[in-house]
Symmetry: C2
Subunit: 270 residues, 2 copies
Amino acid sequence: MANPMYRQIAEDLRLKIESGELGHGDQLPTEIELREKYDASRNTVRDAIKWLMTRGLVETRPGQGTFVVARIEPYVTILTGEADGSAGAGDIYVNEVKATRRTPTATVPRVEIQQIAGVVAEELQIAENTTVVSRHQQRSIDGIPFSLQTSFYPMSLVERGAIKLIQAEDIPHGAVAYLRDNLKVRQVGYRDTVTVRAPDPNETAFFKLPDDGRVAVYEIRRTAFDQSGHPCRLTVSVYPADRNQFTVNVGEVPPEILTRPASDQSRQHQ
Amino acid sequence: MANPMYRQIAEDLRLKIESGELGHGDQLPTEIELREKYDASRNTVRDAIKWLMTRGLVETRPGQGTFVVARIEPYVTILTGEADGSAGAGDIYVNEVKATRRTPTATVPRVEIQQIAGVVAEELQIAENTTVVSRHQQRSIDGIPFSLQTSFYPMSLVERGAIKLIQAEDIPHGAVAYLRDNLKVRQVGYRDTVTVRAPDPNETAFFKLPDDGRVAVYEIRRTAFDQSGHPCRLTVSVYPADRNQFTVNVGEVPPEILTRPASDQSRQHQ
DNA sequence: AACGATTTGTTCGTATGTATC
DNA sequence: TGATACATACGAACAAATCGT
């Protein structure tokens, strides 16, 4: 009574999905069938479906029908690791590879020299409109788009001889080892900042996300510090939120056995 | 041409918002005005607004109008800290307080003894349908809903004398210190798992989120380990994704100066 | 390869309800 | 109370994608 009709239809379908009556991947009745079943107009049925779609419960495929979304097994990325740069650590991607045991690929870095402002300048603790080197890569795992990553380095590192930073090709053993061995710039620690936001159009396209902004993305900024306590790199990584999770280990933590996606039973709120 | 009209209208409005022509909190033209401006029907204009709403760019207020959403200054929570339980660390909330310097409040714990399954049993490494103690709290900062938190403890801890775990009142210096001083159960480390998902109805209500599922929530599971390497606690915390961010420090990291929300300038993807 | 049937997507018009000022 | 503005609901028509024949 209080609720509009499209909500009642939506809640009814939602129940059928969450009770398991409609399993993952199952097709819902067509809009025409729902229109007859609930004695509503097609537009009202579509409003109900739209409501379910916003919540990520169903997806529509033109010419085919409406389907309950399939659950996705998330990738797990460990944010904590060795800080000293050994074993390539401090590089988010290495952890990903270890964690997933899948075959990763990455595009050739797109290198740009640019003036920066805002968050980048702030995290690198340099003045706005200073020039920095940015190295951008698209990363995939088993051919599936996985992350977009951009690293920013102060131009001073290049001036001190780190010319590989401005070459558009992979740095064999990683930038961390390269800077340590050539410039004696040791990475002694890093700070990760985890945020979640709506994807921009580029990200939507690369990750093949539904083009409404319903699936969010993680943005993880890793600011790395050298032995002098100054930031020597900022890496911004973006991951789709619906198929990724992150792990942080502190202190003595036994090796992980297995991981599961977000809670089913652990939701005990009321 | 390729795009439907409602998308073109939406993109045009989006541009005006992102370029700053329409500032945060500004009112958009009414649907009637937009209908005339773009020479479309009111329904089409509403489709465009719906598209912007899904992306969290605008909000509608019945009887008033459509407004550009105001940006929210995020709370910052540090996930890494001392693992040994000193200074109450290992308790997420303590870090929050330190990080925000605001006045936190929390409801009296709701204590339940229940059989658990799924993720909880898995993280605590105990058999399914074993009994555990759960302690649930709603936390606020300056009166604003902040997080929902549920901690699970193996029943064996109570049997060994930790009776305060089953009392519905705060444990003065924190459960970590209580278990250490009374049961010699030291927390030597923990593992945090960060996921993002749509809020359930309870979370939507508590956090006063828009009742479409557009704002996601973080779910952070903290599994704490004692000196024997066994899990002694699982804490599940839920935060709204639109006003929270998390920090992870590894290695030597200088003290934080200030933090800013998700990137503006750091988005360099293409 | 072509066509028709099915299904969702877009757009219009219209009417009425409800919230706010 | 009335005016304004968004919310819901109906009906209709055509477009576009998909699939099987």
